[in-house]
Symmetry: C2
Subunit: 131 residues, 2 copies
């Protein structure tokens, strides 16, 4: 069981910004620090901006910074944003399902509960808890 690379890069970006709150950061320096391609980070930063986690300052000396205090950035919110489907098994989605038991089997319900337990455990965790 694994979270996507996209979630990983998103969390790393937030960690970087959390560690450099005194100034603006750039995608290039995060890309270099984490050895993650710029194009991946552009997508990450765009989504984080659109969802109010970070602020982009345009212009020559522009850059990005957290839009709120690290103790207001809930990790479960971030993961729900970056892992919107959380389809732990292929039968979680009608598009991917190939299992003929889909209508009878209760496995899905069991894994729904497990996924919720996973997410609930992230609900009281904030960015400042991991900095």
């Amino acid at each position: 069981m694994q979270l996507t690379k996209y979630t990983d890069y998103t969390l790393r970006t937030l960690l970087y910004l959390g560690a450099h709150q005194d100034r603006l950061s750039t995608i290039s320096e995060i890309s270099e620090y984490h050895n993650v391609s710029r194009s991946h980070l552009v997508k990450v930063v765009h989504q984080l901006g659109k969802n109010g986690f970070i602020i982009t300052v345009r212009g020559k000396n522009g850059g990005i910074r957290l839009a709120k205090e690290p103790n207001k950035i809930q990790l479960s919110q971030v993961v729900r944003l970056t892992e919107p489907h959380m389809n732990i098994q292929e039968c979680f989605s009608k598009e991917t399902n190939t299992c003929p038991l889909i209508d009878k089997c209760k496995l899905k319900l069991v894994f729904y509960d497990a996924r919720e337990a996973f997410m609930r455990s992230l609900e009281d965790k904030y960015l400042n808890d991991i900095l």
Copy 2:
């Protein structure tokens, strides 16, 4: 976040055997029913046998069946067997980690807890709960 195909096939094999406890089943019929390649199922069946979940009867009229009652087959045990690493993030393993923050960052601890919450929620679930 997704469990591996291997876990999926293992659970489907157990479900099939749970639904046909009155007789021996064959890998070929499970392969056909679930439209999963025989070679994948051979590995699954081998591991399930080695770990005491199923019994293989050799010979012309041979086949496989559950080695214990469905209410004795704990789903968390199965998932721990088929997802031995459960490396939710690349930093869970020194081999895969590329993040320079590995020694300072507490993200791993947070996700360890979340993973444990996931597994705990499977601990009181048995094969008969999903049949």
